[in-house]
Symmetry: C4
Subunit: 223 residues, 4 copies
């Protein structure tokens, strides 16, 4: 500005609707890791013993703990699904090298789904017998997988935001995973509307498959 005062006036070329790219990608990851960490820790806030006197006997206390199992189960399921979501988020943003306005906001929609997780988990922890509760819970995970599929497709089409060296195998592998996830979760939603417990069972079995089977397969290095 001082060196070239002629440029100090507002320049007409950049409108307020333009976005300016900046290279500080670590902040996107820091914000995302923060939202994941908080949502995963807030899940446990739902675990509360019902009120009862300090003079409670051991057996009253044991009953109260025992009655928490459905909530503990849902907590563990949500935690594992969030862990899987984070693992894929780490893949996606490890391969993305440039950040434009679009991917920042797609990621924000994704983080909104993460922030919703404690709420939908509490819904199904309280009312696991109601189809609508399980369907909303599953819809939260559909939002995870769907948004990530959009992000990945946007970033990799014509290698828009990823390294030109990223192989089609890795691009296709992640797409396949996400499409498969969307399909499974959609079927969980459908199942939940008729048999709520079945919807949960589909989610549990699918998560276990996706977490446990890779233990027995070799890890592939990308590049």
């Amino acid at each position: 500005m001082l060196t070239n005062p002629r440029r100090a006036r507002f320049h007409p070329k950049l409108s307020i609707f333009d976005a300016v790219q900046t290279p500080s990608e670590h902040r996107i990851q820091a914000l995302s890791d923060g939202v994941f960490a908080i949502a995963m820790t807030l899940l446990v806030l739902e675990l509360k013993l019902p009120e009862f006197p300090h003079s409670a006997t051991s057996s009253q206390f044991a009953d109260a703990i025992w009655s928490l199992w459905p909530k503990v189960g849902v907590f563990i399921l949500s935690f594992i699904i969030a862990a899987r979501a984070w693992e894929l988020h780490r893949y996606v943003f490890n391969f993305v090298l440039n950040y434009d306005h679009t991917i920042i906001y797609l990621n924000m929609i994704y983080l909104m789904a993460v922030a919703f997780l404690p709420f939908t988990t509490s819904l199904v922890g309280e009312h696991s017998n109601l189809g609508l509760a399980v369907a909303i819970y599953s819809a939260n995970f559909l939002m995870f997988a769907g948004t990530k599929l959009v992000i990945w497709s946007y970033a990799t089409t014509h290698h828009r935001l990823v390294s030109p060296k990223l192989s089609a195998e890795v691009i296709g592998w992640l797409k396949k995973r996400l499409v498969f996830s969307c399909g499974v979760i959609l079927s969980a939603i459908l199942a939940a509307l008729f048999y709520p417990q079945l919807g949960i069972l589909v989610l549990v079995v699918y998560q276990l498959m996706m977490v446990v089977i890779p233990f027995f397969r070799k890890n592939v290095r990308a590049r």
Copy 2:
């Protein structure tokens, strides 16, 4: 100290009111990202079903979910505004290279506005029909835009804390955006005092414009 014991006594030149510059700028960004992540995730704590028995029927549950829509709407609006605020915060602190006492505290005032967000969101989620609630909510966003305008002006005047190569276009572009935001939010506050819903409408339309229009414009690289 050991090598020069004469200097071990308190030196009179540095008073306790002086500030010493240190170059660890990543900590400002880490603290800011942390506050953003927490505030954005805490927004969802407002979403709670009213108490009703575990033996609730599906239609009672559906009614309860349906009655949450105003809160969900405000949650989404706050989340998007926080996302936009974070995007601009990332711009500002990407260009700022030096950190003095003043900018650290201006940023603290800014983070205070971020920390207030879950509270003002809950006000308007509960009482969206009251002009004062909407006005306080809008004032929170005015605090976002206003503080950021002060930060940006302070940092860029005579290129005080930014690279001397930062172009006047980019400096002016961000100023224009922030001045425009302040104007729109001020008009939302005025509108809210007479027609609360109109105040919210102004905010919603403005946010949608600022998020959606840039999708269709090209991204400009700074430097």
Copy 3:
């Protein structure tokens, strides 16, 4: 993809059950630090004065504060144990250089234990006289030490994920610590089932030993 369109079809070699290694290890540490920071700060949410009128006298207030001591004590104990757990987590992941699917999920189980901490702390803060409450609380710490022992063994066996230069002394030193911890915590659980206070005493004495004794020993530099 553009340079080699033949590879654009889904390649059969990578199945959705394969894991792809990516080198962004800082994100694992960021997520873990986030979960630790949140769990440690949420511990304090349990500290709440019982409801009483604003017109309370000083002595009523002093009584209420005084009655909080058991909770404050448990808060401090949990905070110190979390601090020790974080210190060891820092050791482990400082030495781990590669991240495969297995270690990511072992770490997730570990973080789940960290997220549980505010809940189990509140149990024992409310019901420190009940053996089951103290046993669950101790089991939370057993989950800390046990999972970390599995992580460390998995990572160091045949130097699978650590530097080939990491000495057997350091590997064995951390194993010894973790095995010793598991033993002490197991004995705390057993003690708690018969004498709840004794279980807590075992934990307190052990933590003090592990925190205080090293102050008086020299720090060893690894490599």
Copy 4:
């Protein structure tokens, strides 16, 4: 281990009470920034309108908002004090280059004080007329300043953990600030026991002095 199987047995030289130094100092900063960010954001959770019907009139709502001012005031004061504490924490850990067992645990005690802040803030937000509440609140800040003084003295004595080039001016300057803070806060505690409001006034005036005066002084670059 494989290259030298003789070393695979547990080596007697490293006891479980020894600490091993690792160079990952960024994790200490990340954990600390996380705790600060969470504590600063949780402060606002105390701000809650009293329960009243959705059909409340504007003037009832305005009264409820107005009655929140004491809590808002304490929130702002706590936020500013936390901001100042963070600024000094950034100084300290910017200059510390090595991390041993002692400084890690001194920092943990410091973070415990940060985690306590939302609790002590809520005490004084509810009962600002009670000397004990204000004294506990002030004691929280004494724990900030006192622990930081111990950390700084430990790290800088004989340049134990700081660069040998760090000047005695900077070392003395930070010590002076911390000793001065301890003195002012001690006098606030004493004042609070007799005149609660006076204790708060001392804190407010002191914080304003320490934040505002440096705006008008030049920033000194360390090294």
